[in-house]
């Protein structure tokens, strides 16, 4: 009897240790990411000065005269993310207001999982669709649109991030207490006026957090841009020209054979570090905004 009790207590301790270990191991993922990005970036910056990295305006790692200025890649990344956000915010906001203030529960039940499925579609499929459907379609309307461009991937990413810009915004607006709406109706305001002047401002930090997470997702997206935006580091704001994003560069280099420690191998870690920092900043802002909502109610 006592034997089984001791056994039970010991087993309880062992299982606690097992579960704790599983949780503890996950810390090493972040440690691993930071370690590998930093250590290989430091190696990279021994060969390429960090000043050149941040001030040079050309990125030509495969040319005879190698230049490592990250700006063309950063510009490409932000150009595409900018187009995505420009498409996604108006569309997402309209959908969010419609779903949260107008749509019936039945419509919502069908529509929300459908919109959230946009996130689940494999990005390589989006890439195919962008290159072989969206770009040819746009070429009929936009003059001098090249086969690889930033416009088509930007638009497709705009739809892809709707789960953040529409669905998360709707969640935030739904969280606004009903009594605030009723007060506005009682003063004679219409539904739309209430939605725009009362509900949206009350939910703004959650809505904006959704937008920022969407933008961050567009910045980190890889396959759509690798397939449809071209592989040409190009410091431009013309959305018709081929460009290269930070993620696109990593893919391009990774497709070749990488000798460990070569300058190309090291360069993708430096680009990865820059990408990681940008994503981290965006997510910290979004996280901070979301804790602000919790304070409000």
């Amino acid at each position: 009897m006592f034997g089984t009790l001791t056994f039970k207590r010991a087993l309880d301790k062992i299982m606690l240790a097992v579960f704790f270990t599983a949780g503890f191991i996950t810390i090493f993922i972040t440690v691993g990411i930071v370690y590998v990005l930093l250590s290989d970036s430091i190696e990279f910056f021994k060969e390429v000065s960090i000043i050149e990295f941040l001030t040079e305006k050309e990125w030509t790692p495969v040319f005879a005269t190698k230049k490592f200025g990250i700006w063309p890649l950063v510009a490409g990344t932000f150009l595409i993310a900018g187009i995505a956000v420009a498409v996604s915010i108006p569309l997402g906001l309209i959908i969010a207001i419609y779903l949260s203030e107008y749509a019936s529960t039945r419509v919502k039940e069908i529509v929300k999982p459908t919109i959230e499925f946009l996130e689940a579609i494999p990005t390589v499929v989006y890439g195919y669709f962008t290159l072989l459907f969206v770009t040819p379609l746009l070429q009929k309307v936009v003059p001098e649109l090249e086969a690889f461009n930033s416009l088509a991937p930007g638009i497709v990413l705009g739809f892809m991030i709707l789960p953040y810009t529409a669905s998360m915004a709707e969640d935030a607006m739904k969280g606004v207490p009903q009594r605030i709406r009723e007060a506005s109706y009682a003063l004679g305001a219409t539904k739309l006026r209430t939605a725009v002047t009362i509900v949206l401002p009350a939910a703004i930090s959650g809505v904006v957090a959704g937008f920022i997470l969407g933008a961050s997702r567009a910045i980190g997206e890889t396959m759509v841009v690798a397939i449809a935006a071209g592989m040409y580091p190009n410091l431009t704001i013309d959305p018709r020209e081929p460009i290269q994003t930070m993620t696109g560069y990593i893919v391009q280099v990774a497709l070749g054979d990488l000798p460990f420690g070569s300058i190309e191998y090291l360069s993708i870690f430096a680009v990865g570090l820059a990408l990681f920092i940008i994503a981290f900043i965006f997510n910290s802002i979004a996280l901070w905004l979301r804790t602000k909502i919790r304070e409000a109610y």
């Binding site: 494999p122 195919y128 529409a166």
Partner: protein
Amino acid sequence: MISNKKRTDARSDILFPIIGFIALLLAISFMITLIIDILIDGFIKLKDPSFYTSYPSRFPEKAGILSGWVGTLLVMAGAVFWSLLIGIPAGIYLEEYATKRGIIGKIETIIELNINNLAAVPAIIYGLLALGIFIYRFKLGESILTAGLTLSILMLPVIVVNTREAIRRIPRDIREGAYAVGATKWDTVRDHILPYSLGGILTGLIIAASRAIGETAPLVTIGALTFIAFLPPSPFTSEFPFISLDKIWSVLMSPFTVLPIQIFNWVSRPQADFQINAAAAGFVLLLLTVLMNALAYYFRQKVRRKYIW
């Protein structure tokens, strides 16, 4: 003046639902167009049975996805294995065991913050982690093992969040009842928490797997090959115990390709015939994703009906 404003308000209140509905239709028709487009483009290949049983080839009309779907299956099996070993227990720990007190409490907060942050890391960064750590430092090679590990890291945040939510739904009374009759924490977890939350945990696992199955970027960086004209060796033997550890190891260390990588390779080729293959394989991948999401949805509804507290 006032009546004018009122009229505009009234008019826009009628107009907006129409605009909203159009925006919604736009988003949904975008998705439907995508699905129909790849279905039409790939239809010839999709109805050809040899597409599913052939290896990739230099000749587009002979090329198939055999090594792709076998690779996907093996890599996903690995990812699910690691998730069962790390992800789900980590979620259970954070929700059921964590007390947030003392030094251990500080570690718990770090674990929690860390997992929240991982959810927002771009997928390709995990590819760099795998390349720098698993391949070059741990020497695991460009193998099925490395790919499974990488995807399981990608799945981790989704699994932890879903595991925690499933456990959180179980009322405190259940635990108190178990403790009152002398059950230890582990007894309670084994006999009550796990059975009641299993549906929710599995839903999370399926959703995470449905995302991971379409991931391409992190596997490109670890060098998944696209031209694999062979399958990993079979781990089964004709003699007892019918399975050999050495052979399992050689499966794990085997080079591989997966469906998304195969699609990426075919899209990048200039010949239109290869793009038909890309569309067909893309449709297969999309179908898998849809099925997994539908399964998760079904599970979730079933669990909600089964346990009403």
